[in-house]
Symmetry: C2
Subunit: 233 residues, 2 copies
């Protein structure tokens, strides 16, 4: 699963989060956090008030999900290296009923509420950068909200595949491979549909030669065609 070159790379310690902050301060900020290794499938919880922490992903990938009564789960987003998550849990006092599952072995750095607030007061650019990423996500989810309202399922699935591909694609000779285990069920939970509909869409695209898919594995063989479909319906 390591062939090909990634379209997009990110490392936490030199992410946009630290722009505007002197390089020698990075280490200080990183050291005030706690490093944790996660094995594939391990779950992080964000509930339990005093102990809430926010997490930066160093290595690996987290699947941020939220439950909505009766077992129906939705995937809110994937958290890639260089990104931070669960800030909501830290800043909005109330419980944050979400869970993050490690997709593959991962490494995270976490801070408790008090520490992160002190760091932000000490380094205003840190607060501003966190604000920027929060706003980017707000924009992202607002767009997905619009799509969910206005577009047909198959179109939404196409957009989701493309979005994930841009974040986690590896260029291979076959096409762009999504380089982590992504099942039909995951895509369904991410786009708000059922695994059956996702399966039908993929079969459909496979016939047209736009993708090649297998068990928890998707390769986009004709990105242009898929983009065209995503945009015109």
């Amino acid at each position: 699963m390591n062939e090909g070159t990634p379209l997009h790379t990110g490392t936490f310690s030199r992410s946009a989060l630290f722009s505007g902050i002197a390089a020698e301060k990075h280490a200080e900020i990183l050291n005030s956090g706690r490093r944790t290794l996660l094995e594939s499938g391990e779950t992080l919880f964000f509930e339990g008030d005093p102990a809430v922490r926010c997490y930066g992903v160093q290595r690996g990938r987290l699947k941020l999900g939220k439950l909505h009564e009766e077992g129906r789960e939705a995937i809110v987003r994937y958290i890639h290296p260089g990104e931070i998550t669960a800030a909501v849990a830290v800043f909005c006092a109330k419980d944050y009923p979400a869970t993050a599952v490690a997709v593959g072995p991962s490494e995270v750095i976490s801070w408790d509420r008090k520490t992160i607030l002190e760091l932000m007061t000490a380094y205003p650019p840190l607060a501003i950068n966190m604000l920027r990423t929060a706003l980017e996500r707000l924009d992202d989810i607002q767009n997905r909200y619009l799509e969910l309202q206005a577009e047909r399922v198959e179109q939404r699935i196409a957009r989701a595949v493309l979005r994930i591909m841009r974040q986690s694609g590896r260029k291979t000779e076959e096409g762009v491979l999504i380089d982590f285990r992504l099942g039909r069920r995951d895509l369904a939970d991410y786009t708000g549909t059922t695994l059956y509909t996702v399966s039908r869409a993929l079969s459909n695209w496979e016939k047209k030669g736009w993708v090649a898919s297998g068990r928890e594995r998707i390769v986009v063989t004709d990105p242009h065609a898929l983009v065209a479909f995503a945009e015109t319906g």
Copy 2:
């Protein structure tokens, strides 16, 4: 339209945005912005890079909408007094294809990118407070995203009415009145459905005695029943 007592009040100058900042600095921050009066129906645009500004609502109410090809509009949220909007336009360099329409006569204060960044660097709590509200909205829209995925339309409409009621309700002897012009079409754009479906839902609830509605006017006569319906389906 002024009978009854509001459930919820807000003024910009003493909003959560300024918590942790010395009172005498409020005026300084407010004065570095530009005051604008809007008449009902007037529209703000957030595109046009150099001039982008973010807006705080002093008085009145803004309807934040986003277009999605072919005239289909979605209402992202209502901005109430004490809240700020269009921070996305300021922080994420790209265009923010959204518009805010004044619902009733309104007054806003706005800052350009440079000014707001300087203010946040000078007053770290300002950045932290903006981060907090951004995260609250992120949480809000994530929840609505889940609802859109998991719930039936009628249930979503109920949640929307309740949400708006909590923000903009006035207690009258008839029930809780939503104190601004809110048409079927608005509710439909807010919940991702059609005005026909909204109309049917309201007719339905009217028969049950949960609401009393008229032209661009909704009174929730039995909030408990509506809450029960919103939560159980």
